[in-house]
């Protein structure tokens, strides 16, 4: 891809099925300075065919292999990062979970997360609704608190929330 100075974080996210699903094989290389909206984010896809501009949203995890989830198109409409003044909003990849697709956007003010919006949440079945009704608002809150606790990563036995957090995580990752 384009040449770029190297510094900062090399983050690679993927989903591996069963122990995991179809890896997405996307590199997000963050050159120094540049917040995510800038150029210089190299995207090289293994399996997915996204050619996302800038930081944008992932074609990421969801489209994956077998199950062929439908959600990922939503990412395209949102088109990745939006910038207003100093705040940057990054749309995370759609994460497939057992209970449905999950996608969030995260707004940064500088390096602080100021908002998390749920773009997609599972609601297919009654069971899913019960689960998501309980977990989704809480999870959005978690991200904010995660910021205040200044953690680098989260250990948890996860399914829905991991998919959810992965989506948040991927937004954070893409921001670099």
């Amino acid at each position: 891809m384009s040449t770029m100075r190297w510094r900062g974080t090399l983050i690679y996210t993927g989903t591996v099925a069963a122990i995991g699903a179809a890896g997405i094989a996307r590199f997000v290389v963050t050159p120094d300075a540049a917040p995510a909206t800038a150029s210089g984010i190299g995207t090289s896809d293994g399996q997915s065919s996204s050619s996302s501009s800038g930081t944008s949203s992932g074609s990421g995890s969801s489209g994956s292999s077998s199950s062929g989830s439908s959600g990922s198109s939503a990412t395209d409409t949102t088109g990745g990062g939006t910038t207003t003044s100093d705040s940057v909003t990054v749309v995370g990849s759609v994460a497939s979970t057992r209970y449905g697709n999950v996608q969030v956007s995260v707004t940064f003010q500088g390096s602080t997360i100021t908002d998390v919006q749920t773009l997609q949440a599972p609601d297919r079945e009654r069971e899913s609704q019960q689960i998501s009704a309980r977990s989704v608002p809480v999870l959005a809150q978690e991200v904010l608190d995660a910021q205040s606790a200044q953690v680098d990563t989260v250990s948890g036995a996860t399914y829905t929330s991991e998919g959810y957090r992965e989506s948040v995580q991927s937004a954070i990752d893409q921001r670099g």
Binding site: L10, I11, I19, G20, V29, R98, L139, E142, A149, T153
Partner: protein
Amino acid sequence: MGIPMSVDVPAPPDRRCAELAVRTAFSRLRDADRRFSRFVPDSEVRRFDAGELRHEDLSPDLTEVLALADRAGKASGGAFSVRRPDGTLDTDGVVKGWAAQRAADVLIAAEVGAFCLNAGGDVVTRGEPVPGRGWRVGVRDPWDAHRFLAVVEQRDGAVATSGTYERGAHVWDGRTGATASGLASATVLAGDLVTADVLATSVLALGADGVAWASGHGASAVLAVTDDGRVLGDRAGLRLLGRPTAE
């Protein structure tokens, strides 16, 4: 269903080398997935389970995983088992940690410097994300997802959590065949993720007694939360309990 994986390499000495290493690490994970999946009809695990493969025909990988499972089973008095109550072979309790540790080994061998690998909530870290401090790993509260039970700061190490709060009771007690009960989650710190993951799963299967047991079987710290909300830990685990967020 997919388990999300992410690798953070904050300051690789050689970027190309690091990218290559990360790709290799992920392809290792995909290989493991194909080999061990219960959901792929012709995976090695399924074929072995169906009697199409003899023990001596198995790949070194599956042989190693079965040996690990066997050791864990013996060490836990039979609580850890890769045989589901219905008799089918399910290596998930070993494979995730094993495969993720192998992926981490690729990064270590490639000398990418500090990194954090997170595989579905199981974590391997090396070095420092920023000079002067280790990686901060939040351990989720099983019921209150916006809170952490503890924040572990570590340089080289592994953290694995098993729990019933997302997948339901997916861990069973190999001694009785009953689904594990008593604990909502178990978190184990160890030098490597193979150890941490197997121990965390075993603690969940063993219940409250598993905390002290894991402490004597390679865990450097253990934390568990009972179904009724009590927090258990060995001495090192209890020391991790902080109040990272306002209480």
